[in-house]
Every structure is written in C-alpha cells, then in structure tokens.
Amino acid sequence: MRWNVGTKISVGFAITLAIFVIVGAVSYQSVTKQTEAATWVAHTREVQNQLTQLLSNLQDAETGQRGYVITGVESYLAPFTDGSARAEENRRRLAELVSDNPRQQVRADALAPLIADKLAELQQTVELRKTRDFAAAQTVVLSDRGKKAMDALRTIMREMNLEEEALLKTRADAAQIDARDAKWTIVVGTLLALVFAGLAGLLLTRNIAGPLKNLTGIAERITAGDLSSDVTVNDRSDEVGVLTRAFERMTRSLRTMAGAAEQIAAGDLRTSLQPQSPSDVLGNAFVRMTDNLRRQIGGILEGTAVLGSAASEIVASTAQLASGASESAAAVSETTTTVEEIRQTAQLASQKARTVADSAQKAVQISHTGRKSTEDVAAGMGRIRTQMEAIAESMMRLSEQSQTIGQIIATVEDLAAQSNLLAVNAAIEAAKAGEHGKGFGVVAQEVKSLAEQSRQATDRVRTILNDIQKATTAAVMATEQGGKAVEAGGKQTEMAGESIAALAGSVTEAAQAATQIAASSQQQLIGMDQVAGAMENIKQASTQNVASAKQLETAARNIDDLGRRLKQLVENYAV
C-alpha cells in the first residue's frame, strides 16, 4: 500500500462515479432507441395513410368517370379530374416515404405504371363518350382493362400494408427488449455502485480512522500525564504512518524529559539533556532549569558551608560574650567602689587647684620681664654678625691675591730654570771654544749662579706664601665658623626669645587654666557624685547583660544546628 490517504479516498469515489456514468450512458441509449422506434411507427402510419388516400382518390376518379359515361353530363367529370390529380400526388409522396426500404420501393415503382394505365383507361372512356357515344365507352369498360389494373393495384397496396405492419411489429419488439435491458442495467448498476461505495467507506474507515482513534486515545492519556502507553510503529508510508512515527518520537522525547525530571526530583542534577531542536521550548527550558538549579544548589551549598562556619563562629563568639559579660559585671562592681574613692580624691584636688591658680599669676609677671631681656640680646647679636661678614670678605680678597702671587712665582721659577739651562749650554759652547771661550765660560758660570739664586729666592717666597695661604685659609675658615656661630647664636637668641614669649603665653594660659581647673574640679566633684549614681545603674544593666548573653548563646546554638541540618539537606543533591 504505497498510497496516501488522499489517493485512497479519490480512488474509491472515482470507481463509484464510473459505475454511475455507465448506468447513465445505458439509460440515455435506451431512451434514444425508444424515441427512434416511435418515429418509425409514425412513418409506417403515414405510409398506410397515403396508401388509403391513393385508393380513395382512384375510386373517386372511377366514380366520376362512371357518372359521366352513364350520363354524359359534364358536371360528373369534376371528381374524375380532382381524383386523378390527387392520385398522382399521392403516388409521388409514397415513393418519397418508402425510399429507405428497397422492397417497398420496388412495389411503389410497380404502382406507377398501373396507376398510369388505369387513369389512361378512364381518360379513354371519357374521351370516347365525349366524341362518340355511350356504346363505344361501354366496350372499353367491358374489356375489363380497368378492372384488372385496379385489382393489381389493390394487391400491391395490400402487400405494402402488410409489409409496413410486419415492420411495425418487429420495431416494437426490439424497443421493448431495449427498454427491459436498460431497466436491468440501471437496477444492477445502482446496486453495484451502492455496494462499492459502502465497501470503500468501510475500508477507508478501517484504514485511517482506526489508527487515528488509537493515536487520539494515546494523546488523551499523554494529556492526562500518562506516558506509559507504547505507540506501535508500522512501516506505513502515508500520512498516518508519518503521524504515528512523529507520535512515537514525541512520546519518546517526553519520556526522556520525564526521566530527566525524575532524576532531578531524586536530587541528581548531572543529567545532560539535549534539546530536540533550537525551537524546542520544553527541552531548552529543561536545560536552562537544570543549569539554574545546578548553579543555585551550588550557591546554596557554598552558602550553607559559610552559614555553618559562621554559625560556629557565632556560637564561639556568644560564649565568649557571655563570659565577657560576667567578667564585666564583676568589673563594674569593682568600678563602683573605685568611683567612690575617686570622689573623695576629687575633693582634695579642688582645694589644691585653687592654690596653684594663685602661684600661676606670679609666674606670669616674671615671664614678661624675661621676654624684654631676650629682645635686647637679639639686637646685639645682629650687630656682631654684620661685622663678621665684613671680616670674611676681606679674608677672601687676601686669599685671592695670594693665589695671584703664587702664579707669578711659578713664572719666575720657570724663567730661572730656562736661564740655568741656557747657562749650561753657554758653558758647553765655551768649553768647545777652548782657550778663547774661557772668559765666556766664566760669564756663563755667573749667569748660572744668578739663575740658582733666583730659584732659591723664589723657593723662599713660595714657602712664605704657602704659610700665608695656610694662615689665610685658616682665618677664612675661622671667620666662617665665627659667622656661623654668630648666626647660630642669633638664631638661638631668637629661639630663646620665642621660647620665653611662648613660655609667657603658656604661663598666662596656665594661670587661666589653673583658674579653670579650680572651677572644673568643683564641677568634677559634683560630676563624680552623678557618676557614682550612674555606676549603680550600670551595675544593674550589666547583670541584665549577662542574662541576655546566655539567651544569645542558646539562640546561636540553634542557628548552628539549623545550618548543619540545611547542609545535610543540600548534600542530598548531586551536582
């Protein structure tokens, strides 16, 4: 069965329609034959009618002839003239009508000479009566020529009539048989069509509606959430087969989803469900749901771990808090006692503060005197510094000049050395000159001696200059140090002045402070009384604190238990 449902339905209807078409064709043919038969009956009647009229007209013509022959009166000739004309007309009409039947045609052709003969005989008698007399005419009539023709005519006409009757009978019988056949064809064809249509309907119903009903039942069960029913897959290739397979896939997919959901419900989140297609809303939602659940459970796991540790820390802290509260309660008791002692001390301090305030006033006056003295010292230091700077400048100039002298000495030394060398060369030249150069040698010796003396003199100058330079450097340094010392002295004096000024300010402030201290210590005394009262209140509060800390500890333990239970719950999930 490689046909799809549309083809099947089309084929069923086509066969039924073909049967109906055949039945209709048969009926149409039958009706056509009946109509034809009726036409032929009318034709036969016409032929018979013409024959009757022909006979009647011939008899009219004979009647007219007889009257005229007998009487010789012209008026009797009218029927003869009319009858002859009409008889001829009838014969032509008859020949036309029987042109389809060869035998009748032969007979009709045979009629023509006979009619012509009869009419000729009648015409002859009429002519003879007219031209001669009754006897001549009577001779012709008595020759029996007319009677014989008439008899032959009648015989042929009777034959034609019989022939037409026989034809009529044959055609009527054929029409009847046709009608009967048509009736049977209609009845049988209609019944056959009905049976075939019924059969096709039954087959289609069984072939299409059955599986569809089956699938509908399964769909109903799936709608109710029952995925246990199996869809039997056959190898049908039509729409029903496709639908069945799609249904089977859908059921399988739903069952996979349900299995995954079961796994998740059991706490196992490791399912890796693949969506059937990108537009698989349920599959994608499932994947996202498992991902989200996995993340959330992971987060909850971390959270519970944090909660557990935090709860443990809270328990420890609250335990410490409770013990701390107990300790602080004890400490508060001790503090209360101490505060009482402090109150007595404060009384003493108040008296002492008043004495100190008086002393401070005297100190203020002394510090004012000290400030004036330091200002005078500072002015003196400034003058010293100016003079030291002048000295330092002079020393610097001296040092620079010593440097210049040193350079001049170097030049002189160089000149002495060159002179010495020149003297030696002169002596050498003198020695080469021999006896004549002796005098020159003495001069050279003298020049050399002078150069030596110059060198010694410069040496001494250099020694002295070195001493001077050393002394100058020492003096410069001493001056600089002196300047620095003076500057430092100035600064220290300034600082001393500032210190004394600050001291005077401080002493003044101290005096004010001492006065304030005296007043404050009086207030302190009053305050201490209030503190003693407040400490009593604190003592009561700390007792309550201890009780609260105990309760807090119990509560923290409960939180710890809760955290542990939560952790056990979450650990049931496999992520």
């Binding site: 010495n420 060398l421 003297a423 060369n425 002596a427 050498i428 030249e429 020695a431 080469k432 050399k448």
Partner: protein, 176 residues
Amino acid sequence: MTNADAEADRILRARARALAQPPPSAAPSTMLELLEFRLASERYALETRHVQNVHPLRELTPLPCTPPFVLGIVNVRGRILPVLDLKKFFELPEQGLTDLHRIILVQGNDLELGLLADVIVGVRSVPADSLQPSLPTLTGIRADYLKGIGEDGLVVLDLDRILSDPKIIVHEEVES
C-alpha cells in the same frame, strides 16, 4: 722694604766675596771639561766635546717594539732623535718622567742621540789625572762604560764606548 734692601746688600756682598777669591791655580796637567748631571741621586759626568747642548724633555713619543732602555723619540729643532735612558744600564730606580727632565744631545761614532738626565748640574773642569780608575765594586756594564771616578765620587762616563756598544743599535723584528 728695609728687609729686602738688607737682603740685596747681603747677596751683593756674597758675590763680591766670591769674585774676590783668587782663581784656582792653573792645573799643571790637562784639564777635562765635564758636563755634570744627576741620575736618581747619583752624580755622573760626560766630556763636553761629545755634548752638543742640553734641552728640556718635551713631546716624547714612545716607540713600540724597542728594548726598555730606548725611551722614545723627540723632535729637536726639526731633527728626530732617539732618547736613551742610562738608568736602565745602571739599574737605578725609576722616578717617572716630568717636564723637569732634560736631555743631553750627544754626537759621536756617526750617531746622534739624546741621553735622559734628571738634573743638569753644570759644566766644570777637572784635571785629567785626578780621575781614579774604576772601583772594584763596579762590575758588568757599569764598569764597561766607566772612564773614571772623580775626587768627590763623580762618575765620569766614556761616551765613545757607550756609542760603540753594538747593543744600543736596535735591530728587532716583531712577528706579526
């Protein structure tokens, strides 16, 4: 100022006295004209007939691939002359070169060269017979180059022998 005047007066007097001294009695024998100089702390002398003149040591150009006693070459008035260091022969301590060093230009035996001297003392005349022969303690090259010892320990060098010594002719090749 009076101080300087007195000093000048003193110097002039000293010179007058020196000049007033009678000249030393003329040497009966031949006199040797010597150029006295110092190497390290020792005193040496050369005969002036070999000496052309003395110069300050300037712009010494060291020569590579030469024996240690060749210090280098100098340009003296357009002539390029080698400079020898006698201290290397006499194993005297090195003191480093300064511009106070002098060179003595000598000539002989078709050679012209400069000898390094620490200090040039001057020219003096010495009687030829006052020179004593070499000390027995002096040996080796120092004995070879010696002409004689003066009265006050002056070492008189024999330049002819120094210049004729084949050792000072430098002929060295360096393998490339």
